[in-house]
Structures are given as structure tokens and as C-alpha cells.
């Protein structure tokens, strides 16, 4: 069916005007409960925007902490099943093995650590091979 453009325009214009009227009337007659809920939603949106966001403060800090923890984990983690690297007893103790916060009293222990490691590798002190009194 062919309709002239003018007729189509007229029909579209009528349709649009009627649709707007229905829409505007429906908007004007929103029930009281919904109206109150919409006003509350608007107030909540405004309040949320005005309130200082704790998340904005804590998120970067938490992110930095997580990154540090991850870095520490990556550096110090050793898989349990991986074989321990062979260590030369002579080079087992170096300055890098000393903790950064070791004080003077602890320094003695750490400096004698090589001796304690050697002692630990020896057979039981009560065995004859050790030269202990029978």
C-alpha cells in the first residue's frame, strides 16, 4: 500500500504528539510511594557523592601493601620439592647472611655460626669416635 509522504508525516506527527501526551501524563501521575522512593534515591546519590570516600584513601594503601607482600613472597619463597642448592661450607656464612638488625651481642652468635654448623654435623659426642672418655 502506497501512502504519500505528507500523509505519513502527518500520521507520524500525530503519533509522536499523542505518545508525548501519554508519557507526560504518566510522569505527572507517578504514585506517591514511588515518588518518595525516587526522592530518597536522589538524596542517597547526592549524599554518596558528598561523603569522603574511605575507599579512595585505603585502596592505594592496600594495593601498595599487597604489592610489597607479593614481592617479599616472590623473593623468599622456595618450592618445598626443589632440591636445596649445594652450599660450600666455607662460604656458607657471609656478611649477606647476617640480619640487618643484628646488634653487638647477637653478632658473636652469628660470627660463630660456622662453628655451630660444624658441630651439628659431628657424630654424637658420646660415641668413641669423638674421643670422649669411655
Amino acid at each position: 500500500m502506497n501512502t504519500s509522504p505528507a500523509k505519513t508525516n502527518n500520521a507520524d506527527r500525530e503519533l509522536a504528539m499523542r505518545a508525548q501526551e501519554i508519557y507526560q501524563e504518566a510522569c505527572a501521575n507517578v504514585d506517591v510511594r514511588t515518588h518518595a522512593q525516587l526522592a530518597a534515591a536522589r538524596r542517597n546519590a547526592m549524599t554518596a557523592a558528598r561523603a569522603p570516600s574511605h575507599r579512595r584513601v585505603w585502596l592505594p594503601a592496600a594495593g601498595a601493601m599487597a604489592a610489597c607482600a607479593l614481592a617479599v613472597g616472590v623473593i623468599f619463597w622456595r618450592p618445598a620439592s626443589a632440591p636445596a642448592p649445594a652450599q660450600n661450607p666455607q662460604t656458607a656464612l657471609s656478611d649477606a647472611d647476617l640480619p640487618l638488625d643484628a646488634d653487638n651481642r647477637q653478632m658473636g652468635i652469628y660470627q660463630n655460626l660456622e662453628f655451630y654448623q660444624w658441630l651439628a654435623r659431628q657424630p654424637d659426642a658420646r660415641t668413641p669416635a669423638d674421643g670422649a672418655p669411655q
Binding site: D12, Q20, A41
Partner: protein, 216 residues
């Protein structure tokens, strides 16, 4: 009372509002009178207050559910204030409608998935049109119950017809015809080109043209 304006009355209104002589070529030119009735809000709160009921009606029309519509509008308000509160006031309408459009689309998709699952498990409740029940809240009695009833019936008929349109045609009809956004703002709110807006609107009008009688 018949509140429908004739084209001459709208022409006169447009002239009074300073838009000059209006040459009608389609629904696009209904917007000058609408735009004149909506001044730019001075604050974002005033903007939200001016738009909240229309936004809810639009969401309700698209979703056919008042509670979901309220959720969508609340979310759109929050996002607009949070992300775009510092934008110029004349940018708020397309931004707000764009946010609301995406929210409505999300809810429609979620509902489609839920419906498919419910249909698959045999637990869906649908009426003969395939709409979820219930479709209509209890009416709020006004000063003229007969007129209010007629208005609700017209609105229900229009909403049903709009919901039956494909999603993009639905959106363009709501934004261009009901909200009176111009082509550029509609395209911005819909995230498409101005040509697509015109094409979708033309198809939507073609689909709805025969239904005017049902809306009277």
C-alpha cells in the same frame, strides 16, 4: 477532556517560544516545544529532581517492572553524580540517559537469561503475551477515576507497543519522541551514529503508526 494538541496549536506554541515557523516533517520537530519547557538545571540535584519521574517511567516502560525500574534509576543517579557531577549542566541529559539505557539493557539481558533458565526448568510464570507477571500495580485513585483509568490504559497500551519493538528502536523512540532529545544527544546517549538514530526512529514509527487508535 481531549488534551491532544492540533498541529496548529503546536505551531503557535513553538512560535510563542521563539522557535519561528515550524515545518513539520516528522516527530523530530515535536521537540522544540518540549525542549523549551525544560530549562537547563542549575545544580545536579535540581537536574535529578526534574528528571527522576520521567526516568522511572522510561525504565518501567522498558522493563515492565516498577521495582527494577527504581533500581535502574537509582543506579543511574549514583553514577551520574559520582562520575559526571563536574561536567557542564547541558551535558547531563545525554549522559544520564546513556547511563540509564545501559542499565536497562543489562537488566533486560539478565532477565532474559533468568527466563531461559526458568523456562528450561519449567518454573516460568508468563501471561499469554510472554510478559512476566504481574504487569500492573494497584492503581492510585485520583480526583477523576474515569480519566485516570483511561490515561493508565493508554499508557499501558503504548508501553506494550514500545516494548514489542526491537531494543534499539525502543530506545530511540523513547529518547527522541518521548524525551525530545535532539539527534546528536540521542546518538550520544545510544552510542551510535546520527544516521543510525534516524534509521531506527523511522523503523520504530513505521511499526507504531498503526497503533495510534489504541492509544486514544
Amino acid at each position: 477532556m481531549n488534551t491532544q494538541r492540533t498541529s496548529d496549536e503546536v505551531d503557535a506554541l513553538a512560535r510563542d517560544e521563539g522557535f519561528g515557523t515550524v515545518s513539520w516533517t516528522g516527530p523530530a520537530l515535536v521537540e522544540p516545544a518540549m525542549a523549551a519547557a525544560r530549562p537547563v538545571a542549575r545544580s545536579i540535584e535540581a537536574f535529578l529532581a526534574s528528571i527522576e519521574r520521567r526516568a522511572w517511567r522510561v525504565a518501567e516502560m522498558a522493563l515492565n517492572d516498577g521495582d527494577e525500574a527504581l533500581d535502574a534509576v537509582q543506579d543511574a543517579m549514583l553514577r551520574l553524580v559520582h562520575h559526571y557531577g563536574d561536567k557542564p549542566a547541558d551535558e547531563w541529559p545525554p549522559l544520564f540517559w546513556g547511563i540509564l539505557r545501559r542499565r536497562i539493557t543489562d537488566l533486560q539481558r539478565r532477565r532474559n537469561v533468568r527466563n531461559r533458565i526458568l523456562v528450561w526448568t519449567g518454573r516460568a510464570r508468563q501471561d499469554e503475551d510472554g510478559d512476566e507477571l504481574p504487569a500492573w500495580d494497584a492503581p492510585d485513585p485520583g480526583p477523576d477515576p474515569a480519566r485516570a483509568l483511561a490515561a493508565r490504559q493508554s499508557h499501558a497500551a503504548m508501553s506494550k507497543a514500545v516494548r514489542a519493538l526491537p531494543r534499539r528502536q525502543q530506545q530511540v523512540f523513547i529518547l527522541r519522541v518521548l524525551e525530545g532529545l535532539d539527534v546528536a544527544d540521542t546518538a550520544r546517549a545510544m552510542g551510535c551514529s546520527e544516521g543510525s538514530v534516524k534509521t531506527h526512529l523511522s523503523r520504530a514509527m513505521e511499526s507504531l503508526r498503526g497503533q495510534l487508535e489504541a492509544w486514544r
